[in-house]
Every structure is written in structure tokens, then in C-alpha cells.
């Protein structure tokens, strides 16, 4: 299995923050939602897609730390009109984290945001890619 998906509960970040006393300012995100995610794997790379409706390019932060934890935070810039009559979705920021395996080339990660969907491509390290072995005649 290429990755372990770790669902970060809302309370966990603040507990970890208190315990580690780290500077990671998760409180600026505040109450946040888990974005719907799709994870696909090809021979070349791992591709993640996160649904972030209401988020524009400037509002996304993507980091990988030394423990190979990929953290995605996004600020929702959708201005909700007043006087809601009927509601099927809430407005809020997004946060999700994932544990990555060793086989990914973190430095060559590519991210793009289109139509409210964040697509992150993590290429696999060369030595990990399947090698085709030629059969000698």
C-alpha cells in the first residue's frame, strides 16, 4: 500500500499543538472540515484530489514535514449571503493530513487548483518505479 490515509479529527490538531508547543498555527484555520478526497496511484506517481469549493489559489497551504506527513490547509473565501432559508452545506475552512510512504519524491510535488479542486501529484522516486527487464534472445 502506497500511503496510509490518516483522518485528522478536529480535536487532534489542538491537542498535538498543546503537547508539542509547536509553532504550527492551526488555530488560524479554526473550525475546519475534511475535504472529500480521491487518491489514485499510477506507476509514476500518487495523485490526490481534494474538493475545496470556495477556496481560491491564495488560500491553500501544502506542507510535508520530516515525518513524511502531508498537511493541506485551505481558507474558504466564499462570502455567504445573509438570511439563509435552506441549508445543505456549511461554509468553513478545510484541513486534512496524510502519512506518505518513503517512495515519494517530495521535492518534486506539483499542485494545481482548478474549479475548486486541488490536485496534488507526488512522483515516485526513480529507484522505486517498476523496471522493465528485457528478455535476452
Amino acid at each position: 500500500m502506497a500511503t496510509e490515509v490518516e483522518k485528522q479529527k478536529r480535536r487532534e490538531p489542538s491537542k498535538k499543538q498543546e503537547a508539542a508547543g509547536n509553532a504550527e498555527n492551526l488555530s488560524e484555520i479554526g473550525r475546519s472540515f475534511l475535504p472529500d478526497t480521491g487518491i489514485r496511484e499510477t506507476e509514476e506517481a500518487l495523485i490526490l484530489q481534494l474538493d475545496l469549493p470556495g477556496v481560491d489559489k491564495g488560500g491553500v497551504s501544502i506542507e510535508v514535514d520530516e515525518t513524511n506527513t502531508l498537511r493541506i490547509k485551505a481558507k474558504n473565501s466564499f462570502q455567504e449571503p445573509e438570511n439563509n432559508l435552506f441549508r445543505e452545506f456549511e461554509i468553513g475552512n478545510y484541513f486534512r493530513s496524510f502519512r506518505l510512504g518513503e517512495e515519494f519524491d517530495k521535492d518534486n510535488m506539483i499542485a494545481k487548483l482548478e474549479l475548486g479542486v486541488l490536485e496534488i501529484t507526488l512522483p515516485k522516486k526513480e529507484e522505486v518505479k517498476p523496471r522493465r527487464i528485457a528478455i535476452q534472445a
Partner: protein, 145 residues
Amino acid sequence: MAEPDWTFSPTAFEREFERLRRQITDAFGGLSLSSGFGGGFPALNIYDQGEEICIALQVPGVAKDSLNLEMRESNLTITGRREAPDYGNADILREESLYGEFRRSFRLPFKIKQDSIQAECKNGILMIRMPKTGESRPRHIAINA
């Protein structure tokens, strides 16, 4: 065959809440109630700004040219399609998003200036603004026993 080991008895609060929701959905005739999946894809919110009605839909990954808004008398129908991405020979490890065609349709309880309807799709949210004409349709009055 087996009897359920719990029974659902709505409290007075829940009954009142249900009644309120029904009144609103009756006013917007045909709007399907949803808590998550099922009838409510894509998710929408309705706002009453006094002069205009705003409808917001969460449509991440939906191409603008697949979206179609149709107003027939007082019936608004929204259709569109979210294409699943194609990465060739890929294993799907996890898939939480919904893809495919969608259609949501409902009747508005207000008269709308049809020529002044505006729609904008930005960052995966479709916003539809519909100015009211000021005349209201006859209100549907629920009879409470």
C-alpha cells in the same frame, strides 16, 4: 424478523424542526430534503436577500460549459456533470467525491424577473441571483391539526 432494539420517538423539538423543514420545502415545491447523499447532490443553500433570492451550489470539478440553468414559469432546473479525471492506468485507492450527471429542480414561491437572473461559477461554487418582481405567489398554508 428481529425486532429493532431501539425505537425512534421524536421529541417535540424534532417534530417542530421537521415541520419547519417541510414548510420550506413545500414552498419550494419539489426541493428534495437531504442529509448528505441521495437527493441532495450537489449540495445547495438558499438565501433570501429581500430584493433577491440567492442559490449557492457546491460544484467542485464541474466544468462551466456542462452547467445548464433553465427557468420554466416558476420552475428552476439546474443540470450539469462532473467528469471523473482520467489518469490512464491508475489504481483508485480512495474515492470520496461524487461524479456524473446531476439534476436539481424546484419551484420558486416568488415571481422572478427572468431577464435579470445572474449566475456566476467561481472556485467550485455556483451562485445564482434572482431578483424578485415583488408580487408573491399565493402562499401555501400548512394546516396544523
